[in-house]
Symmetry: none
Subunit: 227 residues, 2 copies
Amino acid sequence: MKVLIVEDENSIREVEAAYLSHSGFEVVEAVDGKEALNTFAHHKFDLVILDINLPEINGITVCKKIRETSNIPIIMVTARAEDIDELVGFECGADDYIKKPFTPSILVARVTAVLKRISGAKLENEYLAIDPEKMNIKVKQGDESKVVEVTTTEFNILYTLMKNPGKVFTRYEIIDRAYDNSLDADILERTVDVHIKNLRKKLNILKNLPEFVITVIGKGYKFNDNL
Amino acid sequence: MKVLIVEDENSIREVEAAYLSHSGFEVVEAVDGKEALNTFAHHKFDLVILDINLPEINGITVCKKIRETSNIPIIMVTARAEDIDELVGFECGADDYIKKPFTPSILVARVTAVLKRISGAKLENEYLAIDPEKMNIKVKQGDESKVVEVTTTEFNILYTLMKNPGKVFTRYEIIDRAYDNSLDADILERTVDVHIKNLRKKLNILKNLPEFVITVIGKGYKFNDNL
DNA sequence: CTCTTTCTTCATTGGATTTTCATAATAGAG
DNA sequence: CTCTATTATGAAAATCCAATGAAGAAAGAG
């Protein structure tokens, strides 16, 4: 789990970084909005901790910018109560906020809470609703809808793809993410093809459904991102 | 146990929060209806304390909104006697109400009372009625009905699953929730299978009953959620 | 203490799932 | 268009996992 901390005050940032990396997170720091956006564009993070009062570009703007390209979990941090009010609607797209001053343990707690919440979240679009808690998949078309039974592996694969619509996953990446014990998963990459085939067959239970899983020849598979 | 406090007056909210968190609850605060709904959508709470007089969206509306998606226990708070009258029918779906002014200890007492009441509540659907107080299970089909005797462990397992229909519980989670002393419960996960088997056999005493406990291969068990 | 009930473990069986494989279909390069 | 590389597919094989019956252990009643 890789976290980006954006905070201009050195002392605070360093404490945050220390606690998070002590808790097992990989941490990258940025001191202002510009650096934050730059770093964000060049690394792959799992979560962003974003102070609101930043020099030059403020935190809310940074948040909105990030949201233009990513659904990454964002936790906003501020000392000013008024900021909180403004944030309340999460209009900028943040997932949580923390009021300063806070203890490092609170920070860690919030981060893990947000990550947990996001990781087990329902995913839904016009045609598909998939719920990890119930481990079921609902296929929708107009006013019709059917619940599809899929196996654990099939579910994991679909969930993996659907978490990043449009992103192409190699077969290796799919195996890596969709299997619990990805270490000793010495499985032929062609096996993924079979699961995808079975998934497609199971999902295709209503008329006029779009193509959910798209083949990218020579690369792998991706989830259709214009639904 | 995680509680959401919705109250616009800072002094009151802070006192409430202080007492509840002192009593071992995890507390999240919201200052108005908008923030409340937003926070509610992003966190998983066990109970909501909701002031009626809120700026912009009032408490009753918030309550109704929450009820659209959740059965979470809600305690309404108000100073105006007229509100109480209106609330009496619990038209908005609240579980209890408190008249201002109140002592913090009353608040804590009500919260624990509501949680206890809810936690020990009867669960019922078309085919099954289970009563924790009497610790019995009634199986129904059309005009027939029979009471089934089950053991404590079997009862706890069924109750655990039935409190969250559709949610998949791992065997470990089932052991954790259905055993009093979950700490020293060093029990093989396969033991759960045997209890489930015995439960199924006992519950299956009438013709044409649906499947109550559903196996989710590779994960665990869930209670059938479309009954 | 003895008997009964309940709980847990275990070995086996059978069914579901996953994987592999062989072949057909398709896409893309040249 | 042809050839090659890649994916789709059906079916067999292997593996995994849950269901089950039985037996031993623990708990509880009398």
